[in-house]
Structures are given as C-alpha cells and as structure tokens.
C-alpha cells in the first residue's frame, strides 16, 4: 500500500503535482516537482528521516552544502572526513538507521574511504555522499577528480553515480533501502557537481524494485525444527551469538531461547553484549582474546547454535580445528556466509530475530522435557565460577581490569560504549560487562584505530539521553582526536576514557611475545598531554592516577555538559591475557602465569 502522506511536498517547491505512473508493473503515486539535483538530494533525505549530516565541504559539493541554508537537516562539521564517516557509522549502529556523511571530491572522498571500509567490515548502515567533478570533466584528470566509485567498489554494499539530476531521488531512495535492509552496509552516492546544479522535473518514488536484490528470506521452518532436535540431542550444546544478533536486535529472542533450552551463551567480540553478560548462562566472548571460560566451553561443546556470525579467524582460531567434533547450526541473513569459513550441518537463512521467533514458537509446542541440571551445565557453571575468581590480574592499583570494573560500577547500565582498537579494546571485552544488550560497539572487522571517538559522537547524536563513553587507547585517540572540536562546538558531550600506556600497546605486546622484546615504533613518549589537549579544544581534561581520582573523574564527566577526556596512565608492560596466538586453536590459549 502506498501512503500519500509520506510523500508530502515541501512548501517552497516552485512547481508540484501529484501523478500516478506505472513503472515495471507497479503503480506508484509520486510527487513531481521541478528542482535542482542538490535540492532533490536534501528533499529525498528528509523523506528518509535524516536529521543530521556529518561532513566537510569543498568545491565539488558546494551546491549541496548551500541547501543546508534551506532545509531542516543539521550539519555537523568535522575536522577530517574520516571522522565524518565514523560518526555516521556510530550513529547508524546505535539507531539502526543509516548515518549520513558528506565529503567533497578527490581528497575529501578518499578521506572517507577508511570509514566506509570500516562500516562494510562490520555491516553497519551508512550513506556517504561525495561531490564529483562535472560529468563532462570525468576522465580528464580534472582538479580534485578521483574515481571514488572505482576505489570504493570493494568496500561498499553499493555505489551510485547519478549522471543526470533526475536520477538523484531514486538513487537516494534505493541507497537508503540497500544500506539498511538485509545485511546492512555502506552505500556511496557520488554526485557530479553539474548534476547537483541542474534543474529537472523530479519524481520521488515510494516503491521501486531492485531485481537482483533479495535482502530477506523467510526462515525455513523444517530447518529450525531440525535445529531444535539437534540441540535437544546434543550432550554439550552452546549458543554462539555474533554481530548479527545485535544488528537484528534479537536480544529478547536470544535470551528466551537460551533460557528455554538452558544453553550457555558465548559471543564473538562483535556480538559482545548481545546477551546480558551478568546473566548466569553468559560466558562472554570467545576468540583470540576471549574469556578463558568462554574459550574453554566452546572447545568442549559438541553442538553450537551460531546466531549471526561470520566465523572470523579472530573468533574461532584455525577453521579446521574449530569445526572438528562440532555440529554447527548456522543462522545468518547472508547466504554467502553459510559454508564460507565453517561447514554448517543445518543452515537457517534469514533475519535472526525472525528465525529465533520461529524457534521459540516451535519450542512452545515441543514436548521434550528439559532437565535443568545436566552434567554439562554443572560443568559450565563451575568453569565460569572458577575463572571469575581465578584469572590472574595485574597486581597494581591501576590495572586494566580494576579500571574497567570501576567504570562499569559507576556507569548506568544503559550507557553506550564505543572503543578504539588495541589492548584497551580487548580489556574492555574482558572486564567491562555489558548489562543492557546492544550498548557496546567497536570497530572489529577492520580494527580501525581512531573509530571509537567519532563513533561515540555519532552514537551520542542518536542517543543524547544516555552517557556515551569511548574506551580509548592513547595511540588510537591521537588518530581522530581533532573530533574534540566537533564535540565541543556542536555540543555533543561524550566521554573519552583513555587507558594511557603511552604506547601502541597491542603491537608492543606482539613485539614482547613474538619478536623477542625488540620494541620498534611503539613508544608514544607521553606526547601529547591529553589533559592540555582537551582543554585547548575547550573540552574538559582530567587525569586520574589513583582509584579515588578515577572514581571522581568518572562522576565529574557524567555530571558535565561538555565533552570530557579522562587520561588514565597505566603500566605500559601490562599484557592482554588470555591470548590465542594467530594460527592456533582456541584450546591453545595462553593464560597469565
């Protein structure tokens, strides 16, 4: 059904009418208006519900920038386009609606590439709009021309380059649709300057068809039935929840299935917090830096219900060792993930929320009686309890575990966390328990240093009502620290929580472990002073050198209406443990000695 109200025309249009046209057999009620490509872009985005754009202008996107003067979409200025992309990404992951970033042609466009690739690696919805040189100049090595469509191709879900103004509305409609449906991802719309400037009769389609795109499929009930049967007959069944469970926000469904079948739950790092980590069945993330209890139980399990995961090497170690002796039930929205890295005995293709709902329905009808105290569950509980007590931690007052547990203790459960990339990220995975599902976000697939802070800004725009904290490393924060200007000037008060080991700590750990302590290129020499840096941007900077100071700093930051950087000096020699070395299996976990 098409709803006319959704396509209401903006009042300042020069000319408008309603018409019904037939395209590909679909009757569409559409609005027809005469306007420029730039105006059409903004109008189409308003129809998509876009409230703000993160970006930075230049020659090739000036026509679209000029439209901000005449529409209700807020522009949030960044100091580097990469950050605009990460902000859009953070916004998208939290709101589950595509975040939008703008960049000019050439260097502006290439600057957002890292951000696009990051979103693609983590299946985050995003729409990036770049300016391009005029159509007639394309291919002539024009000033600030870069073939961004060609460069971005392998890291986008889809890319458009409208060649006439009239193509703009459909490109936007389709772009948003592609970005947010099925397995989400970034969409690039590259608009030549003359296409932005030219005026045309615009048709804003409500419905359209993309012949080669089938983002959703209905879960196969027979497969789900078989999955239940397999789980009920397994001796040591387990759930592995991945990023897809968070993308689908299948939290209640996941918890219902786990509790009904009494299945222990491990997650991937990307799936961290898909299930409350304080729940008695929760074991936390598996993998290279997984929780000891999670890796132990994963390697002992005989049957796994894998929910929205792509079985990355960081999660499973060596592919061969992982699937040996393990029956795999794989639920995923992307058919290409089935069998890519692991062989599934049962595959359920579809949105995991829908698939789990089918499972819950079938379980309600299932007469098999479940015993709540199987030897497996008992073993799981004991293992969990053992490692909660006995994992050896850094002895100092300012050890990573203590710092992150302090943060957890003070932050309200609905707070949103982003992280940078490195040891601090893995410590966050190990020691910061997610209580409310879907409140923890990280660049996991690409592992992009510098993602966390701008992503926190995007997240805060999506959720201004909750505290947003970037758990940061000094090295990563340096990569996008100039986003402090955005946080301050645009009044987006996020908290940057730096575990400052004055080094590229994760790399340093590898050099200590695999390169005989030859430390090359990892020392940061306490440069810059992050407190002064924050202050120079008009943000608040606090150094916390004891637990008491840390307690005060977190509370001050929470009470503050300006962005706050908390700089926490820590021991540069502290390692992240457990550690599963690359190319080994989860059972080869190195534990603290």
């Amino acid at each position: 059904m098409l709803v006319w109200a959704e396509t209401a025309i903006t009042s300042d249009s020069m000319y408008s009418c309603i018409l019904t046209i037939k395209i590909m057999g679909i009757e569409m009620m559409t609005t027809m208006q005469s306007m420029t490509g730039a105006k059409a872009l903004m109008t189409a985005m308003e129809k998509e519900g876009v409230r703000q754009v993160f970006g930075l202008p230049g020659g090739a996107n000036l026509p679209m920038y000029d439209e901000f003067a005449r529409c209700d979409i807020r522009h949030i200025l960044v100091r580097h386009e990469q950050s605009a992309a990460h902000m859009a990404d953070g916004f998208g992951r939290v709101s589950r609606k595509p975040g939008v970033c703008f960049a000019t042609s050439g260097p502006g466009a290439t600057n957002i590439l890292t951000g696009i690739a990051t979103a693609q690696a983590d299946s985050a919805p995003m729409v990036a709009v770049t300016g391009q040189v005029p159509v007639a100049m394309i291919g002539r090595d024009a000033f600030q021309e870069s073939d961004i469509i060609g460069m971005a191709n392998p890291v986008v879900k889809y890319a458009f380059q409208p060649r006439t103004a009239a193509e703009v509305p459909a490109a936007v409609r389709k772009g948003f649709y592609i970005a947010e449906t099925g397995r989400p991802g970034p969409v690039l719309i590259d608009i030549p300057k003359d296409v932005q400037q030219n005026e045309s009769e615009m048709v804003f389609p409500d419905e359209f068809k993309i012949r080669g795109y089938h983002p959703w499929s209905d879960p196969d009930i027979v497969a789900v039935e078989k999955a239940i049967d397999m789980l009920l007959h397994a001796q040591k069944p387990i759930i592995l929840a991945g990023g897809g469970a968070i993308i689908s926000s299948a939290f209640a469904e996941l918890q219902a299935v786990a509790e009904t079948l009494m299945l222990p739950v491990v997650t991937t790092f990307k799936g961290k917090g898909a299930f409350p980590e304080t729940h008695p069945l929760a074991l936390g993330p598996i993998g290279m830096h997984g929780h000891a209890e999670a890796n132990k139980m994963m390697t002992e399990a005989d049957c796994v219900l894998a929910i929205g995961t792509r079985f990355s090497d960081r999660s499973v170690g060596t592919f061969e060792a992982f699937e040996k002796r393990l029956k795999i039930i794989h639920m995923d929205v992307d058919p290409a993930e089935i069998g890519k890295n692991q062989t599934a005995q049962i595959a359920v293709v579809g949105d995991v929320k829908a698939s789990l709902r089918v499972m819950i329905k079938l379980l309600a009808k299932n007469s098999t009686r479940l015993t709540k105290e199987t030897p497996w569950l008992k073993h799981v509980k004991e293992t969990r309890a053992y490692w909660k007590e006995n994992l050896k931690l850094h002895p100092g007052e300012m050890g990573a575990a203590k710092i992150l547990r302090k943060l957890r203790e003070i932050l309200p459960s609905e707070s949103v966390i982003t992280t940078e990339v490195g040891q601090h990220q893995m410590w966050a995975s190990l020691f910061y328990d997610v209580i409310q599902p879907g409140t923890f976000f990280s660049s996991t697939g690409l592992g992009t240093m510098g993602w966390g802070f701008p992503a926190a800004i995007g997240a805060k725009v999506a959720r201004p009502d909750v505290p947003v904290v970037d758990i940061a490393g000094d090295g990563s924060f340096s990569m996008t620290e100039n986003s402090l200007a955005t946080a301050v000037l645009e009044d987006i008060p996020v908290i940057v929580f730096i575990l400052n080991n004055s080094s590229l700590g994760m790399v340093a750990q590898w050099q200590r472990t695999f390169y005989d302590r030859r430390m090359i290129g990892v020392e940061q020499s306490r440069c810059p002073d992050y407190v002064k840096l924050a202050e120079s941007y008009g943000a608040q900077g606090i150094r916390a050198q004891s637990m008491a100071e840390l307690d005060g700093a977190i509370k001050t930051a929470l009470g503050s209406d300006v962005a706050t950087v908390i700089d926490i000096p820590i021991d540069p020699e502290e390692d992240v443990l457990p550690f599963v070395a690359p190319g080994t299996s989860l059972s080869d976990m190195i534990l603290p000695s």
Partner: protein, 160 residues
C-alpha cells in the same frame, strides 16, 4: 573442478568491472569470460569459466548472487549444456604441403579457413575449450603466430 557460470546482469555500465573485481578481491580465478547483451536489452549475460574446488565454486556463486547488479547466477552442468568458444589461429606456412595439411586438420575439426597467404593461414574454430586446446597442440608444430579466443558462451539445455 572446471565450472561454467552463467550470470545474468543488469545491462549497465560498470558491471563487468564489479564482477571481475569480485573475483580479484575474493581470490577466485577467471579462466575465460564472455559478455553480450541478451534478447532483452535490459540484461547482459556473462559467461565465466573458472577453476576451483566444490566449496570455492559454491562460494563464488553465492558471492556473485549477493551482488545487487546480478539478476540470476547459475552454475551450469557441463554435461547438460551447450557451450562453445570461438578461436582464431594464425599459423605459419613454411613447407610446400603445410597448407594442405592444415586444411585437413581444420576439416577434421570443422574449422573454417580464412586469409590464406604465402607464409600464413588463418583458421577459425568454434568448439569446446578442450577441442580448441587439442587443435592448438596439433597446429603447434607448424608454428602458431597468433591466437585470439572469445571465451565460452553457454546455455543449458531445456529440461536439464
């Protein structure tokens, strides 16, 4: 395993680039490729032959299918498929009876002779890649001056 993939795509600029880029970035190989518009000008058909184990071929098909610009992707069963490739050979004539010998050879393969010169002859052969390979081996002793091949075109038989 040698596989013939038949891919129906939107007939739009840039699609060939995307398909070949997918093969590159996913570490797959393209053995041959042919592209042409279908009877419906909105679509083109790409026929790609590739080599990989069963798992790899299944993954290629899925990744191609996932592409938004591909409308239909099929892994054709070569035993139920008509597939042919066109090749043109330029072969050296050095001895007096070379021309006759090559004519015979061409005849045996159902190839056509073009452009007979004093010191070279052109042969056009439409056949399966295996047959072309066999022909090439037999022609090699004469001296192959040039070869151009189109890549395989293929359609599965009805009811197959």
């Amino acid at each position: 395993m040698w596989a013939i993939l038949s891919i129906l795509v939107e007939n739009k600029p840039g699609i060939l680039f995307k398909v070949t880029h997918l093969f590159r970035s996913r570490n797959f190989n393209i053995d041959s490729i042919s592209v042409g518009v279908t009877d419906n000008p909105e679509y083109s058909r790409m026929t790609i032959t590739t080599v990989g184990d069963e798992k790899q071929v299944a993954q290629i098909v899925k990744q191609l299918d996932k592409m938004i610009d591909t409308v239909e992707v099929r892994h054709l069963d070569e035993h139920k498929t008509v597939y042919r490739e066109l090749s043109i050979f330029k072969i050296r004539l050095s001895n007096a009876n070379d021309s006759m010998e090559i004519n015979k050879l061409a005849g045996a393969y159902g190839a056509k002779i073009h452009d007979v010169k004093k010191d070279s002859i052109m042969v056009e052969l439409t056949a399966t890649p295996d047959q072309i390979k066999a022909f090439e081996e037999l022609a090699r002793p004469f001296g192959i001056l040039d070869v151009a091949r189109t890549g395989v075109a293929a359609i599965q038989r009805s009811g197959a």
